[in-house]
Every structure is written in structure tokens, then in C-alpha cells.
């Protein structure tokens, strides 16, 4: 691994951490699509600031971009408040309009400058290490790495300082408002952080990967844990894994780094979606199956208990009769009997079944509950 490759991965990993930290709160607060809207509208902020200062490295760009992110949500809120438009439609109206203005401005007035739509959308991670940051003549590292490290620290400090407030307003906005935590202000603070992160990140990885990194790892972690601190940590780790593995996939296929990272975010989610211990689809199917057999077995022992000691017991307890009695398919009835025998709820003798002590107990319990 060359120094260049290492630096690219370091930038990607730092970006992933910064994005997934704020992303956790977007996912939990159900405003994940804010990242999509913001990552597009911040472009307008960058364009406007660029026309003002004519310098792509000016910090004014980040400030202006963050402001546009916030303005986007002010617009969305205003539109929603008129009650003429639903919130989802309002988001779907505002950000394409703002983004369109940005695209028109760029292609009309900024061609030839290092500000083209493709790089805004897709990022140019491969070239990121070439723009260096130096302090007092000493090379510190790639510009993007410095920017993203600072943003990561800002995000971390924000989350640590306002942890209680964030947690409360995320899970119980009503209570937070009652206690005077001003969820509205916190909401806009979060939106500002998302905007800053989006600006810093998309210079390196493009706006679409910003969305993937903000939503993917937190959504994946959400399937694995119930605890907020674990979710934060897990998201950061998943983000880094997607970033690094994505880089190598891109290296292997000679394809877009940002695209490959987003793909890896998807792969990690898919694997978790299928195999997560409790919330995965396979676990879900297993649980449903087990419940089905469990239910059938219980029906069987209750049936036996009902007829125990009665004259028709000898008839009612015959195995080959069971499917008619319970209106099951013969094959299903045979399997239920087998399973019940295996769990020692019943004993099988001469084509008939009898309740064991354990089976009788379960039948009683089930009827009582």
C-alpha cells in the first residue's frame, strides 16, 4: 500500500465517521431524507460564495453552504406551515429547485473553473490527497483530511456536550419541550451540523456518497442494537469498513471510489438485513416458523387433555386420526406429532399418543394463560 492509497483511505474513513455520527440522529429522528436534500442544496451555497470570493478554498464557502442547508429547512417548514403542501412533498419541491439554480449557475458562469457538477455529485477522492494543507511551511496532510478531522471533532463535541438533550428530544420530543430543552433549536443545530458535514464531505466523496454514509451505517447499526452509545460506535465502525472495503473494490475494478463505497454500504446493510441475530429477515422467518410449530403442538396437547379419561379417548388419541380431528393436512399432523414426541410432550405407543406429565402441564398452562 502506497502512501497515496493510505491517505485516500484515511480521508474516506474520517469522512465516514463524521457522517455516521450525525446520521444516527437523522435516522432515529426519522428525518434521514434531510441528508439527501441538504447534500444537494449546499451546492447552491458553495456556488454563491464562490461567485463572491472567487476562491474555492475560502472558509466562507463552508459557512455559506451550511447556511443554505439551514435555509432549505426553513423553506420546507414555511411551506409545510401553509398546510397547502405535505412535508414530504415540501422537501421534494424545495431541494430540486435550489439545486437546479446551482446547476444553472455553474454551467452558465463557472465552466472552466474547478467547479463542475460531476465532481460535486460524484466526488474526486482519488485526487483529494494532492491538495495539501501546510502550517508554517510544514506539510500536515491532505486538505480534505484536515477538514474532515475538524468536522469529526466538532460533531463529537456536539454529541458529547448535548448528549442528554439530543437523546431526550430524539426519543421523546414532547417531554423535551416540556422540560424546556427547546427541541426546535436542537433540530436546527443538528441540521447545521449535517450541512457542515455534507460540505466538508462532498468535496472529497460527492453528495450521493454523503447520503449513503449518513444513512447506511446508522440504519445497519439500528438493526443490531437498542442502545444509543452502541449504535453511535457501531455506525462509525460500519462506516469505516464500508469506506476501506469500498476503496479496494474500486481499486480492483478500476471504478468510481465513491460509487464502490456506497455499494459496500449497501452490501453491509443487506447482510445485516438478512442475518442480523434478532431483527434479520432469516431470524424473523425462523421465529415465525417456530411459533407456528409451537402453536400446533400446544393445540395437540390441549386436544388430548380434553379427552383424557373420557370414553372416546382411545379413538381421539390415535395418530392416524389426528389430522381429521385438528383439520390439519396429514403430513403436517404427522410432523406435529413427531415434534411433540421429540420435545417429550407426548409418548407414542401402538399408533396412539399419550400425554406425558410435561405435556399435561403445558396444556394446563396454555389454557390458563
Amino acid at each position: 500500500m502506497t502512501m497515496l492509497q493510505f491517505e485516500i483511505q484515511l480521508i474516506a474513513a474520517t469522512t465516514a465517521i463524521a457522517c455516521s455520527l450525525v446520521g444516527v440522529f437523522l435516522v432515529l429522528r426519522r428525518i434521514a431524507m434531510a441528508s439527501d436534500a441538504i447534500s444537494h442544496t449546499v451546492v447552491l451555497g458553495i456556488v454563491i460564495a464562490f461567485f463572491l470570493v472567487r476562491d474555492l478554498n475560502s472558509p466562507l464557502l463552508i459557512i455559506s453552504a451550511a447556511a443554505t442547508g439551514v435555509v432549505t429547512f426553513v423553506f420546507v417548514e414555511l411551506l409545510t406551515k401553509t398546510e397547502l403542501v405535505k412535508e414530504d412533498a415540501a422537501i421534494g419541491l424545495v431541494f430540486p429547485a435550489l439545486f437546479s439554480i446551482a446547476v444553472i449557475l455553474i454551467s452558465r458562469y463557472a465552466t472552466g473553473v474547478h467547479l463542475d457538477i460531476d465532481s460535486v455529485l460524484l466526488g474526486e477522492l482519488a485526487f483529494a490527497p494532492f491538495s495539501r494543507f501546510s502550517l508554517f511551511g510544514v506539510d500536515i496532510g491532505p486538505n480534505a483530511l484536515v477538514v474532515m478531522s475538524i468536522i469529526t471533532v466538532i460533531n463529537l463535541v456536539f454529541i458529547i456536550l448535548l448528549y442528554k438533550e439530543l437523546k431526550l428530544s430524539t426519543f421523546d420530543a414532547g417531554l423535551a419541550a416540556t422540560l424546556g430543552f427547546m427541541p426546535g433549536i436542537l433540530h436546527y443545530a443538528l441540521i447545521s451540523l449535517v450541512s457542515i458535514t455534507a460540505v466538508g464531505a462532498f468535496e472529497a466523496v460527492g453528495s450521493i456518497l454523503v447520503v449513503a454514509l449518513m444513512i447506511g451505517p446508522p440504519a445497519t447499526a439500528y438493526l443490531l442494537t437498542d442502545r444509543l452509545p452502541t449504535m453511535l460506535g457501531l455506525s462509525a465502525i460500519l462506516g469505516v469498513v464500508s469506506a476501506v472495503s469500498g476503496y479496494w473494490v474500486a481499486h480492483l475494478l478500476d471504478s468510481s471510489i465513491a460509487g464502490s463505497m456506497a455499494t459496500m454500504v449497501g452490501v453491509l446493510f443487506l447482510v445485516t438485513f438478512l442475518f442480523a441475530p434478532n431483527r434479520g429477515v432469516i431470524a424473523l422467518i425462523r421465529r415465525r416458523k417456530r411459533q407456528k410449530w409451537d402453536f400446533a403442538k400446544k393445540m395437540l396437547v390441549i386436544h388430548l387433555l380434553n379427552h383424557e379419561g373420557k370414553p372416546d379417548y382411545a379413538y381421539e388419541s390415535r395418530v392416524d386420526h389426528m389430522h381429521e380431528e385438528m383439520s390439519w393436512k396429514p403430513e403436517f399432523a404427522r410432523q406435529v406429532v413427531n415434534r411433540a414426541v421429540n420435545s417429550k410432550w407426548i409418548d407414542r405407543k401402538n399408533g396412539r399418543v399419550d400425554l406425558t406429565e410435561k405435556g399435561r402441564q403445558i396444556a394446563h398452562q396454555t389454557m390458563e394463560s
Binding site: L84, V85, D88, P96
Partner: protein, 379 residues
């Protein structure tokens, strides 16, 4: 003026201009009409996800069939857009991940995957000329007659299906349970309608691009919604707005160099939305504002009239005069009653007797009595 004439004549006679305008109009028409359902069913952002999810399908179709025939690419886009939607629905249904996260996740991952494929095939000879990257932002200028024909056929088919299933789709959008109780397969209809919306989106990808296409689904319908409460009028209006934006956008982008068509179309439809929100009768903001002021004025007038009436009933004759100071004291508003009295005077309901003494006229007395009765009944 001359410029406009040139544009108009171009629109009629210039091949490229005509093709592009026609394509944009078709795209606006179809996405406008079908977008109505997306907006009514609160699936506005699903359109965004569908559009992004279509990208890998376009590239895969090209890789598999080595063809950039519009129909082939469109089919690829439809299949992968539909697959993305299916995944979103199942993620929401099977896990605790919420709709917004599922949308954002599928949107970005599918788009990223498409991008990965797109950059990967750049190495395949003659793929560079395939021009697939115009699906990102759209490139209306590159539309060919074959593109337009495909758009018209596929879009036309989608619209016909929409008309055929008109009643069923209406049920699906407004009262799903009732529809199910009538024996319609709501799930089947849901799948069909979703497919139609995917088609509407895919039709526009070449012109407007993946990134902005969602606006063409949401905006025309939102604008149309402001003007009417009736479903069929909304669909027709939405289609007209969409087509109009398509043509306006094409014309404006033809006015100067380097004005991209897609964003211009989106901006045009955004302005139509803004106008609708402001000016539409009944629902529009201006309308509401005027109504508010009118109501306020009416209440103000009636209050002062009734105050005078209350005072007059304490005296022997209805036209007994009272000082404005008394009225000011009775009045709960923030400003004085003089302006209101003048307004009432214009309507011949009160009289100015002397200095600051005002009284009811006979007509005013009658009107106040009616009002008092009316209020007595309602309160």
C-alpha cells in the same frame, strides 16, 4: 420580442428544438399525470428514490445487451427502479428501519452502484460513446426521434392503463379498506400503480436526469392540487402544468448558451408551483389573506354596530346619539372606532350627529336587531 419570435419559429420548424420540446412535453405530461397519485399517496420522496434506483438498470441493460436502444435502456431502468421500490417496501415491512431511512439508503446505494458500473464500463471499448452519463443530469439536446417515439409509446401505454383503472386507482388512493371490501385486489393494484409511476419517472431520465427527476413527479401535482379538489381535474391540470414546464424550460434553455435544459424545466415547474400556492382561488395564500382581512373587517363593523345598539336600547328612541369615547371604551380592539364608524356611515347604518356623537339610523337599528337575534340564536 424578435428573440421570442425566433424561438417560436424554431419550436415549429427547427428539428432539434422541436424534438427536444416535444420530448420535454411528453415527459412533463406523463410524470405530471401519474405524479398526482404519488403526491396524493404521500409518496413524494419515493419518486426521488425510484429515479436514483433506475441508474444501475440502465448501465446493466447496456452491459448485457450491448445496445443503447432507448427501449432496452428504459426497460433496464424500469426493472431496477421497481426493484429498488420493492426493497424499500420490504425493508419497512420486515425491519424497524423507518421509511425515510429506507428511501435514503436505497437511493444512495443504488445510485452508487450505478456509478460504480458506469465507471467500470468506461473501459469497455465503444462504451465511452454510449453516452450513459447523460442519465445523471439529463441532456435534452441529445434527444433523437427514436427516443421521442419510445417515450411516447411507453408513456402513452402507461396513461391508457391509468385511465382504464381509473376507478380502482382512486379507491386505492383514497379508501384502501373500502376497495378491498369490494373485492378488488389492493395489493395487485398497488403494484400496478407503482409500476406506472416508475415508468413515468424513467421516461424523463434522459431529459431531466436522475437527480432532478423527482421534482417532475411532485411539482406538477402539487401545483394542480391548489386549483381543484376533484381528482380528474387535478390529473389533467397536473399533466398540462408538466407539459407546459417542459416546453417553457426547453425554450428558455434555447435562449442562450450553456443553459442546461433539465434544471431549467425543474425551475419552470417550481415557479408554476409558487404561482399556484400564491394565487390559486380558495386555497391560495393571497386568497386566504384577503379573506382574513375581510372577515376581520366584517367582525369589526358588526361589533361597533351592536355596541351602539346595546346603548340605544337603554334609551327611548333608537336613534339616540352616543359619544365616541363610550364606544371606544366598550370596544375591545387595539385601535379606536372612528374608522369603523366612518365605514358604517358609508353604508348608511350610522349617523354623525355632532362633534363626536354618533347614532344608529333606522336601517342601522333594523340591521343591528337582526344581528343580535342571529347571535342570540347561535350562542
Amino acid at each position: 420580442m424578435e428573440g421570442v419570435m425566433i424561438i417560436l419559429s424554431d419550436l415549429l420548424f427547427d428539428y432539434t428544438m422541436r424534438t427536444v420540446a416535444l420530448g420535454s412535453a411528453i415527459l412533463g405530461l406523463v410524470s405530471g399525470a401519474l405524479g398526482t397519485y404519488a403526491v396524493l399517496r404521500k409518496q413524494s420522496l419515493l419518486g426521488d428514490a425510484m429515479a436514483h434506483a433506475a441508474l444501475p438498470g440502465v448501465v446493466l441493460a447496456f452491459i448485457i445487451f450491448r445496445s443503447r436502444a432507448p427501449f432496452v435502456l428504459m426497460m433496464g431502468a424500469i426493472i431496477s427502479g421497481w426493484l429498488g421500490t420493492l426493497l424499500i417496501i420490504n425493508i419497512i415491512k420486515l425491519t424497524r428501519v423507518k421509511e425515510d431511512s429506507a428511501l435514503g439508503l436505497i437511493l444512495s446505494v443504488f445510485f452508487g452502484f450505478g456509478l460504480m458500473l458506469l465507471t467500470y464500463i468506461q473501459r469497455i471499448p465503444d462504451a465511452r460513446q454510449a453516452g450513459l452519463d447523460r442519465f445523471l443530469f439529463g441532456q435534452a439536446a441529445a434527444l433523437l426521434q427514436s427516443d421521442i417515439l419510445t417515450m411516447a409509446y411507453v408513456g402513452g401505454a402507461a396513461l391508457i392503463i391509468m385511465v382504464v383503472f381509473w376507478k380502482e386507482f382512486k379507491l386505492l388512493s383514497f379508501d384502501r379498506e373500502f376497495g378491498a371490501s369490494l373485492g378488488f385486489s389492493m395489493q395487485g393494484l398497488d403494484i400496478l400503480l407503482t409500476t406506472l409511476i416508475v415508468i413515468a419517472i424513467v421516461i424523463g431520465l434522459q431529459t431531466v436526469g436522475v437527480v432532478l427527476m423527482s421534482a417532475m413527479v411532485v411539482a406538477p401535482a402539487t401545483a394542480a392540487r391548489q386549483w381543484t379538489n376533484r381528482m380528474h381535474i387535478m390529473v389533467i391540470l397536473s399533466a398540462i402544468f408538466g407539459a407546459l414546464a417542459g416546453i417553457i424550460g426547453t425554450v428558455i434553455s434555447g435562449l442562450g448558451p450553456r443553459i442546461p435544459t433539465g434544471p431549467t424545466i425543474v425551475l419552470s415547474i417550481s415557479i408554476i408551483v409558487l404561482i399556484s400556492l400564491l394565487l390559486a382561488p380558495n386555497r391560495g395564500l393571497t386568497w386566504r389573506w384577503i379573506k382574513n382581512i375581510r372577515n376581520k373587517n366584517k367582525i369589526e363593523l358588526e361589533t361597533v354596530l351592536l355596541d351602539l345598539y346595546t346603548l340605544a336600547t337603554k334609551h327611548d328612541k333608537p336613534t339616540h346619539g352616543h359619544s365616541i369615547n363610550v364606544l371606544d371604551t366598550m370596544h375591545t380592539g387595539t385601535h379606536g372606532t372612528l374608522n369603523t364608524l366612518k365605514e358604517l356611515q358609508k353604508q348608511d347604518l350610522v349617523e354623525h350627529q355632532e362633534k363626536d356623537i354618533w347614532s344608529l339610523t333606522q336601517g342601522g337599528w333594523q340591521k343591528a336587531q337582526d344581528l343580535a337575534k342571529e347571535r342570540g340564536k347561535t350562542s
